[in-house]
């Protein structure tokens, strides 16, 4: 028990102590009238006692501050019965309830992914999940990126402090293609009976400064198909069927050559703009065309590394960004909204 020389302060202390024990939020004691009145009364004290009085009031305040800290740090306060369905002394209307369904929402990126996955499921593709932390081998080596090749410069990886068992920095993968090697390897024996048909949706990362059009964190969907006697036409028709089904209309398509070390040949898949039917609008920057997917025939080195004989089997792979699809669909003006956690954005997506 503390003792204060000044009777007024001593009385206030006892009062505050009682109040403190009852409080649920202990920090409220510092805003108690008893204490604030005492603080206000300092200036009313006779000049000769004022300093001493002020000092003691301050001591009192500090005492409760340290009590608050103690409770926060270790004391078990207001133990409640966690096994109960609700708290004590509540009327039934105060008992827990669900919030109004009207305010619920599903993130637009996930809504879109669900939609895309559904179509690929129906086309016979199975889903594998990606990894948000990976190594140099899966990001590059397993995908036929030569050591020190400038192709690596197109991917600005976040590098981790920790090293993998080959002495390279672990990294935040910059494409979902990092999963290709694992999936091919895990399914290499299945191939003798049926093709590998997989899609990999996932979150990927690039070390670039963010603005309305660039995010360091974004979503991709990767696809791979390996079987016997697969042609470029198989790849093109698969993507056409998917895109027509996703946009629910017959689009026009063409390709553009591109370069990825893990596919040969590689190209960009370009579709006529589904929002203006190729006439030209804001979404397609007035060109009537939208580059939507990077793709190609899987490089034989990638198959060989995964234990698949490229003279018996071949296939194709593709990858595309999800964020841009969603932005185009809704006309979202800033990519940063996706990870902003802002309800005024999120609640628009039911």
């Amino acid at each position: 028990m503390e003792n204060f020389k000044n009777k007024l302060i001593q009385a206030a202390y006892l009062e505050l102590k009682q109040e403190f024990d009852k409080l649920e939020d202990k920090s409220k004691i510092l805003r108690s009238h008893t204490l604030t009145n005492l603080l206000k009364s300092i200036k009313d004290q006779p000049v000769s006692e004022r300093a001493q009085f002020g000092k003691e009031v301050n001591q009192l305040r500090n005492l409760f501050q340290s009590l608050i800290n103690q409770t926060n740090n270790n004391a078990i306060l207001n133990q409640i019965d966690v096994t109960a369905p609700f708290g004590d002394n509540l009327t039934s209307s105060d008992q827990p309830h669900l919030l109004s369904f009207e305010q619920g929402s599903i993130h637009p990126i996930n809504q879109e992914l669900e939609e895309i996955i559904k179509i690929f499921n129906l086309m016979g593709f199975e889903v594998e999940e990606n990894l948000e932390l990976d190594d140099d081998f899966h990001m590059f080596d397993a995908l036929n990126f030569p050591k020190n090749h400038p192709a690596r410069d197109d991917y600005d990886n976040f590098l981790l402090e920790d090293l993998d068992n080959r002495g390279h920095h672990l990294l935040a993968p910059a494409h979902t293609s990092s999963m290709q090697h694992r999936i091919l390897k895990d399914n290499k024996d299945v191939l003798f009976n049926e093709p590998i048909a997989k899609i990999i949706p996932g979150r990927v990362f690039r070390n670039e400064n963010i603005d309305a059009r660039h995010e360091h964190t974004f979503y991709q969907l990767e696809g791979i198909y390996v079987g016997r006697n697969i042609s470029i036409g198989n790849l093109i028709s698969t993507l056409e069927i998917f895109l027509n089904s996703y946009f629910k209309k017959e689009l026009n398509f063409h390709t553009q050559p591109s370069y990825f070390p893990f596919t040969e040949p590689s190209f960009e898949f370009v579709m006529s703009c589904p929002y203006c039917d190729g006439v030209g609008c804001n979404v397609c920057s007035l060109s009537g065309w939208i580059e939507i997917i990077g793709c190609g025939m899987i490089h034989p080195n990638v198959l060989t590394l995964a234990g698949i004989d490229p003279s018996k089997f071949n296939g194709f792979a593709w990858g595309g960004g999800i964020d841009r699809l969603v932005m185009m669909k809704y006309g979202i003006e800033d990519v940063r909204y996706f990870e902003s956690g802002k309800l005024n954005f999120l609640r628009q997506f039911k």
């Binding site: 966690v82 999940e129 050591k147 020190n148 935040a172 470029i232 093109i236 050559p257 370069y259 956690g341």
Partner: protein, 827 residues
């Protein structure tokens, strides 16, 4: 890579299609076109004129009033009686008879074309109207020079548009460099012209000067080269040239470089750049006088010494390390090989003799050096694409041909080449017709195949089963059969290949369980008013501290964009709590957030299955927050959501909440929850999550209101879902309802009472009765040692109607049995 349509036209022997068609073909069959610049528009209002007279403007220290002559080319402009146009100009090199470039009053300054598009006008300067302006090389986008207006030589015709001379009525097509990551030859105009020929169906013939035959030798023993790293420098040619006369390049060369975006320097440097732009092989020129001693120059190609210093042409001073390759004299580094030349030995106006270096460097080393020192250059762009060491002879021939044209008096007096005789390797790639047919999806006629490959100067031998393709010295990207098939399909046109739809069996695709679970949870939570968020996988030290978590167990990012994104998150709730304050501030009083995500923690170790990379756990986190001033029921709110969610998976009976936990990981996670208001989530003996109110310290750090609670669980919990949840038969007979109020010691937990009651009910009634109990109310008067828990009890018999008396008897009976288990009083 920029290409000029006119220069390409000179390299091919058929008329190119209109530019828009050419761009289309390039985009679809060579590489994406970034932009097309029409020089006719850029220099639309630029006219070659002569200054006839000039006179100082009174009151100005530098402005002159010039009268210029366009030979009457431009109509509708004010002229003096002599037909001259008046322009005010402040350049110091204004003089009579100077032939220069005039921009008309409504011209867009070329250096701002497609950027700020700065448009001129006729405007008064110190009381004199200036009709347009005389332009500096910088304003014309010719070079960085801005000291005076551009000067043509006296032989230049004037009174014509700028685009009428030196092929400036040209269009520049810029192709994305990324497209040519593996096409070293496409960083040269010859390579691009070859590709364009092939895709337009014409056979390409490399220019006669780009050849490896008729190599002349020049031996004079003034040069030596000691290559100490033959594994990194595979081939080189050093040529010594004397009797140079350094001066500005002839205009055709100057303007070719300007069109391609290069800055003219002097005839020798321009020559090296021009040959580079044709062949894609970077070339460097040294001033012989600055490196020779006793009339000899001895070069060493070696790795740099640690901390060796070198000043580059661009003025940058470098401190090198032994990963860098340098071209050195016996005493010091002269240039950073394959990246940029040194300042000290660069070509000057008085250079009389020069050493020309043609060399091939290991592309990986060049890439590392350029990255480390942050240097980009035309040489780096090209060398990192893996130039073929065998092309050096052809480049040498090209260089000598243009040297004789541009600096006719120069003499080649010495050379050094590698000591072992050079042989051009001609690798062969064999491709089976079967494989070509498989990948193309149809059988292409042999003649068509050969035509395609031959048009790109790929020599072929065809047999019954396969093709043999000889790989020319300018290509390093062709190594396997698939590379050849790419060439065939690309040049033929991917879009023309038959679109064969894959066939499949009726076997349905297996659904991914985790995904199915997430989809179901999304539907449940979002229809209960909750909002799905996505937050970053990366968090700050501050956020981890706010959760009382030790950053030592988090994976740290070395090159994070900001300290806000330093670590991989150690849980999902942190990111959600971080979004609470901003939404309350935006006016939302009460909400529930949820997020699915991967959590990495060093304590999870490595996953062998994933290839020895860090293991992770899939999680779901849900956060409830309210800033309304009612009683804090946050714990029960979040628990309500939790139980509600579990009930959809038939798990509510199997999952238990426990006050203690032996799992170190979850004990740690509990540090952001409030003691006495948290529980560990158990399934069997496995702790798989945590539920509770957020404690004051964490709340304060995130600026949370007091009513915030959360749960976070492993998603794997839901994989134990029951396909069929329990069903209770419905009685045909009416049920009787009673509210039963138990007074128990205040320390007895609800679950003790509930379980005991339920056990007794099940033991005693299960065969003949149907029943249910629902909690109604918990009442605890202050300063008492008891509490009262009221249940709503509903009972019916399976085969008859119950009356009050029956129910009273049943309750009496139950009470008796329950008293054997726990202490209570029925009120």
């Amino acid at each position: 890579m920029k290409l000029s349509v006119k220069l390409i036209q000179k390299l091919v022997d058929f008329p190119l299609p209109p530019v828009n068609e050419l761009v289309d073909v390039i985009s679809r069959q060579l590489g994406e076109v970034e932009k097309v610049i029409d020089l006719r528009e850029k220099y639309n209002k630029a006219v070659v004129v002569q200054i006839k007279s000039y006179q100082k403007i009174e009151g100005s220290d530098h402005l002159n009033l010039c009268q210029i002559d366009d030979k009457g080319l431009i109509k509708n402009i004010k002229r003096n009686s002599a037909g001259l146009i008046q322009v005010v100009c402040g350049a110091p090199n204004v003089r009579e008879d100077l032939i220069t470039v005039w921009l008309q009053p409504d011209a867009i300054v070329p250096s701002t074309y497609l950027k700020e598009n700065f448009k001129l006008s006729a405007r008064p300067i110190m009381n004199h109207t200036s009709y347009g302006m005389l332009a500096s090389p910088k304003e014309l986008d010719f070079s960085e020079e801005h000291d005076g207006i551009y000067e043509f030589g006296p032989e230049q015709n004037y009174g014509c548009c700028l685009t009428d001379i030196y092929d400036l009525d040209d269009q520049i097509i810029e192709i994305e460099n990324k497209m040519f990551t593996r096409r070293p030859d496409c960083f040269g105009l010859i390579g691009i012209a070859r590709e364009i020929s092939a895709i337009l169906g014409h056979r390409f013939h490399s220019p006669s000067y780009y050849t490896i035959s008729n190599i002349e030798s020049y031996k004079n023993h003034k040069l030596t080269v000691n290559n100490k790293i033959p594994d990194k420098v595979l081939n080189f040619d050093f040529l010594l040239i004397d009797d140079l006369e350094i001066r500005p390049s002839p205009n055709w060369l100057k303007f070719n470089l300007i069109k391609l975006g290069l800055r003219p320097v002097n005839n020798l440097v321009d020559l090296t750049n021009w040959v580079m732009y044709l062949t894609s092989q970077p070339i460097h020129a040294y001033d012989f006088s600055l490196i020779e001693s006793d009339g000899r120059a001895d070069f060493v190609i070696r790795q740099a010494h640690d901390q060796e210093k070198l000043s580059l042409i661009n003025g940058k001073q470098l401190q090198l390390s032994n990963q860098d390759i340098v071209i050195a004299s016996k005493t010091r580094a002269l240039g950073l090989a394959g990246v940029m030349g040194g300042l000290e030995s660069q070509i000057a106006n008085n250079t009389k003799a020069s050493v020309i270096e043609l060399a091939n460097f290991d592309y990986g080393s060049i890439r590392l050096t350029a990255k480390k020192h942050g240097i980009t250059s035309e040489a780096v762009t090209r060398f990192t694409k893996q130039q073929n060491p065998d092309q050096i002879l052809a480049v040498r021939q090209t260089f000598i041909m243009f040297l004789r044209q541009i600096i006719p008096n120069a003499k080649l007096i010495d050379e050094v080449v590698p000591s072992s005789p050079r042989q051009i390797s001609k690798p062969l790639i064999k491709v089976s017709h079967k494989q070509i047919e498989t990948i193309l999806g149809f059988k292409m006629e042999i003649d068509d195949l050969l035509q395609i490959l031959n048009s790109a100067e790929l020599k072929t031998n065809s047999s019954k089963d396969s093709l043999e393709v000889e790989i020319p010295f300018w290509r390093t990207d062709l190594s396997v059969a698939e590379d050849i098939i790419e060439e065939i399909s690309r040049i033929y046109g991917y879009d023309k290949l038959p679109k064969n739809i894959l066939s499949r069996t009726v076997k349905p695709a297996k659904l991914n369980l985790n995904l199915e679970i997430r989809q179901k949870i999304r539907r449940i939570l979002s229809s209960s008013g909750a909002n799905e968020l996505l937050t970053y996988s990366f968090v700050s030290t501050k956020l981890l501290n706010s959760l009382n978590l030790d950053e030592k167990s988090a994976y740290k990012i070395n090159n994070a964009l900001s300290p806000e994104l330093n670590f991989y998150r150690l849980n999902i709730i942190g990111g959600l709590l971080d979004k609470v304050y901003l939404n309350h501030r935006a006016g939302y009083d009460k909400f529930v957030f949820y997020e699915f995500g991967q959590v990495f923690d060093k304590s999870f170790g490595l996953s062998e299955k994933l290839g020895n990379v860090p293991n992770f756990v899939n999680r779901l986190a849900v956060v409830y927050s309210s800033n309304l001033k009612d009683k804090d029921d946050s714990f029960y709110q979040i628990k309500y959501y939790f139980k509600y969610l579990l009930s959809f998976f038939g798990l509510d009976q199997n999952v238990q909440l426990k006050l203690n936990c032996h799992d170190k990981y979850w004990q740690n996670q509990a540090k952001s929850y409030q003691k006495g208001r948290l529980a560990y989530i158990y399934y069997d003996d496995e702790c798989c999550g945590l539920i509770g109110s957020i404690n004051n310290l964490t709340a304060k750090a995130f600026k949370l209101p007091t009513h915030v609670a959360a749960f976070e669980i492993n998603l794997s919990l839901f994989t134990r879902y029951k396909l069929i949840t329990s069903y209770q038969k419905i009685s045909k007979y009416p049920s009787v309802n009673r509210d039963l109020c138990f007074e128990v010691d205040k320390n007895m937990t609800y679950i003790e009472l509930f379980s005991a009651f339920k056990t007794v009910l099940e033991d005693h009634l299960k065969d003949d009765y149907l029943f249910s109990i629902q909690p109604l109310d918990i009442y605890q008067p202050s300063k008492t040692s008891y509490k009262r828990v009221t249940f709503h009890f509903e009972i019916s018999h399976k085969s008859r109607t119950l009356n009050d008396q029956d129910v009273n008897q049943i309750i009496d009976n139950l009470v008796g049995r329950l008293l054997l288990r726990i202490q209570f009083k029925l009120i």
